[in-house]
Symmetry: C2
Subunit: 158 residues, 2 copies
Amino acid sequence: MTTTTTNPKTTTNIVEESAFLKELVLQVRAQDHYGVYRSWKDELVLSNFVVSKEKKSQISVEGDVDSATQLRILCFYRAIASSIEKQTGKLCQAVIDLSHEGFGWSIIWTGRLMVVSRTLRDAQRFGYPSLKKLAAQGERLVASGIKAIEEFPKAADG
Amino acid sequence: MTTTTTNPKTTTNIVEESAFLKELVLQVRAQDHYGVYRSWKDELVLSNFVVSKEKKSQISVEGDVDSATQLRILCFYRAIASSIEKQTGKLCQAVIDLSHEGFGWSIIWTGRLMVVSRTLRDAQRFGYPSLKKLAAQGERLVASGIKAIEEFPKAADG
């Protein structure tokens, strides 16, 4: 077994080690209606979520957000919603609202409670520098969502 | 002055009498970037929100929701958000999430509180049988939103 733990891009087993990334893989595979990814490794399935700083600067924010990027953003927030759901037992709903200029909102709620709400900007450039950072950001949002549910249990049930 | 109070379509002064309809007129006029409606009466500005049952049955729910209808739905929920905002002092944000099949969500929130959340279906056919019913439905949603803020004040501030 090769050990490349210092390589931030495709460390072996990084997906295995992160409950959030495993959830994200499920979300992406759920959209794979034609089985294109069926034989792909999990790391490869998530590879489009990794966008380097240089690559970001090359992506124009002039036009529309292409539908593949929109779906990727939705998968990211659905994975957060689903992770929160598994840990709290509360049904969570995720919605992305994007203007054509790449600005908008990502929203996750349960009952009457807004579990996660973030503004999106330059959505055309959505991505993280590494799978590790993607996992960290996802887990951070999951944790903050769970904290919100603990803080406002009545609204979450409402 | 003509009295046509039983005519459900364009009762004189119906807009004047409804704080919600006045708010809706403001929202629609705010989108009127080329001043097309500038000389129009308020009732005329709102005329596209009135869709009879017969007309609805003629609108196909097969294709996309056209952008004028999407904007009309957004104006409706923005008017609700704005009315709640004026009565409670809480900043409200409205978002519409529509799939291409006319299904989706309309969401209004303030702080951590979901003030209004409704599922949309057959959005292609959005409209009310009369201005009076439009006003009643808008006011109903405004009242339920204010009630939610009163019920969960901490989440609304959160």
